[in-house]
Symmetry: C2
Subunit: 119 residues, 2 copies
């Protein structure tokens, strides 16, 4: 997959984000971006939902992370993040109302060291 | 297509946005959201790219519009906008460098009466 617009432009298409691989800074494959959650009112990406696992009959895990933890690397054709697998697995647990739970949201952004998207 | 998360939540999934129908305030089908263009640095949706036409061998037209011109209506299962077809067709023309052309961006946001996403 080539990303001509992604490599040099200040913008990236949502069609090039969903399904794109995510790597660690040393090039280890961590997972992929499954989809983005968009704050309807502001049009800001609230979370990138990262999927990993899903091998050998095990369900894939989905982890919401701040967009600002992702950097697109054209040479890899994917995103690089300094979030580790252990960090993903230790992130604040969410219940089914997580989308509208500002306490969970604040705890999650704080956990990843990024100011919340609504601030 | 049902959008359970979309109807009541403050967030919407990018997977539910791409391909979703766009209607006029009186329910006329105008087109669909083909994809979103995301400002990489800020994680803000710079433009929703609306597609329409594409019938009888004619190419589909793509028109970047501000996210804030779209309102999701669960009863329609799509977005409603007050942008008319004539407005779309009369929008500022873009060249291949439109993604990084702030003059074009400012003219486009001004045309639709919305403050630019970077302000």
């Amino acid at each position: 997959m080539t990303h001509p617009a992604t490599s040099s432009s200040s913008m990236v298409s949502s069609a090039d984000v969903n399904g794109t691989a995510v790597y660690s800074p040393n090039g280890e494959h961590l997972g992929h971006i499954d989809h983005l959650m968009i704050d309807k009112e502001s049009g800001v990406i609230a979370y990138a939902i990262m999927g990993f696992g899903g091998f050998l009959g095990m369900a894939e895990d989905h982890h919401p992370i701040p967009w600002k933890k992702l950097n697109y690397d054209p040479s890899l054709g994917g995103f690089v993040t300094d979030i580790t697998r252990e960090q993903l697995e230790g992130a604040p647990a969410r219940d089914e109302n997580w989308r509208d739970d500002r306490n969970w949201g604040a705890a999650t952004y704080n956990y990843y060291g990024i100011p919340p998207y609504w601030m």
